[in-house]
Symmetry: C2
């Protein structure tokens, strides 16, 4: 494996939105800049959601404005057409939309059925084509749903086919509750890369059951070259020690580098961003390999 | 993957020998019994080493005597012919011997060159054949050595060829410092399974860089069906928080079960053994997936 691989840091959005401590937009911008400084060129920076519903994400327009002109793919989450229009007005040009593998998860998250979310997403994809806006779609609970159990792979394949046909730039398979096993990842992503090509796909893993890196490895082996990850593992529930959430960017980058893939990311800079995430939140899980990485880079041995 | 897989718990020996708190032989026997109660049938129980040099391992003969007649593969570490004779006299019938992939590690660990250790191991293998004693050989620093850096795969292959030809029952490839990347594991173990068959091989991973489970997955995919692991991840340095050592038995069993392999091990029983390890040592790392496993099995959802 000697290719370029994209790591998209979702910490400033996905990672921060459930943190106990809400960061000011200026601090979220600082975190994004620290990630860019480490060489990351894909970051999810904000969510155009109701600040009443998700106060941690207030100030999305300010963040987009502050980062305007940055030479990187900075994406923002939009849950619906209203969010899309606000994001567009703020100057965002890469949107992230979430679809669902089950009705149970769709209802729990956005109070709508899968089909309603799919239809709304199709509308936004049509609109985005007109506006020249890039849309990344991600599908939640691709392997297992906390409400409906095991998810048939056909459901995820079908969603990928539809979203990519509708013009989504990329389809990201998300194991939202960290329930995937690497053999299932290998099978699903192998099929999907064969069907759509690696350039239109991605994976998003959680480390809840400690299988995050095994799943990244399985996906990379299957040809996936785009991974979401969250700096310092931000996204774990701050009230449940040990209940880690998003796989940490530093862990994922370390593994991809070990596999000989080119991430374009500087580990020392990433560790600096990770320390900033700690400093800002007070509750960053820190990733699985922090002790080793910190030592290795302090020694200059990394 | 639908086969039987052996998990060999090395916690009572490898896991405990560097703990700050030294456990009485009776407590080490309790831990072994808890593992057996969970359905484990391979446990490394003791080391016939100098109690002056390794006080944590004092009382090996007592442990072997106490566990005599157990219907399981209970192995003991023997560093040399003297240890072998003591172990044999105590009633041990499965011995573990360590060889080295580098002179640097051999000298640091036992003050001898690789070749000297190899020769001594050959002598013991010859003696064991006469005595009808089973010998498992494991090779330290198979992928990277802290003193000599990257280890050529040919060195490990050569050692496997020799030890197996001399009558070792099994050859266990150990990533002693947790430095292996899963693609290297996959390549090495794929070759080795092709050459010797899975029944004569095993792997031993450390989780220092958080790649332990990715490496177990890679090895299982390559056909390996025997893994060392340490209950509660015992074996990390108790003075370096986060510096985890041996991959935890509960994590490995969880992954192997998720891959559809038959471990014969009951997870609830394993978690009870893990809690006992905690209780006895006060410093058990607990494995990577402890929070999730504890919750899942408390809910009866596992």
């Amino acid at each position: 494996m000697n290719d370029r691989v994209i790591v998209n840091d979702v910490g400033p959005r996905d990672g921060l939105q459930n943190q106990a401590r809400h960061l000011a937009p200026a601090d979220r911008v600082r975190l994004v800049r620290a990630l860019l400084h480490a060489g990351m060129d894909h970051v999810e920076t904000a969510a155009f959601v109701s600040p009443k519903a998700v106060p941690a994400m207030a100030g999305a327009a300010e963040i987009v404005a502050e980062l305007a002109g940055t030479d990187a793919t900075l994406s923002v989450l939009v849950p619906n057409m209203k969010g899309y229009e606000l994001a567009l007005a703020a100057g965002a040009r890469v949107m992230v939309m979430v679809v669902y593998a089950t009705d149970g998860m769709a209802r729990a998250n956005v109070g709508r059925d899968r089909a309603e979310v799919d239809a709304a997403t199709a509308d936004i994809l049509a609109r985005a084509r007109e506006d020249g806006v890039r849309v990344l779609t991600t599908i939640s609970v691709s392997f297992e749903c906390p409400f409906e159990g095991a998810v048939p792979a056909a459901v995820v394949h079908d969603a990928a086919d539809r979203m990519l046909a509708l013009g989504a730039e990329r389809f990201v398979v998300a194991d939202t509750i960290g329930a995937a096993a690497p053999d299932a990842v290998s099978a699903m992503m192998g099929d999907m890369v064969g069907r759509h090509g690696a350039d239109r796909l991605g994976c998003h893993f959680h480390d809840t059951r400690a299988l995050g890196l095994a799943n990244v490895y399985a996906a990379a082996q299957a040809g996936v070259r785009y991974f979401d990850a969250s700096i310092a593992g931000l996204g774990g529930c701050p009230f449940a020690p040990g209940a880690t959430g998003n796989v940490a960017t530093e862990d994922v980058v370390m593994l991809l580098q070990r596999l000989g893939l080119d991430t374009g990311i500087d580990m020392a800079g990433l560790l600096a961003a990770s320390r900033l995430a700690d400093e800002l939140t007070g509750t960053a899980p820190g990733g699985r390999a922090r002790a080793w990485l910190t030592q290795a880079y302090a020694d200059g041995a990394g």
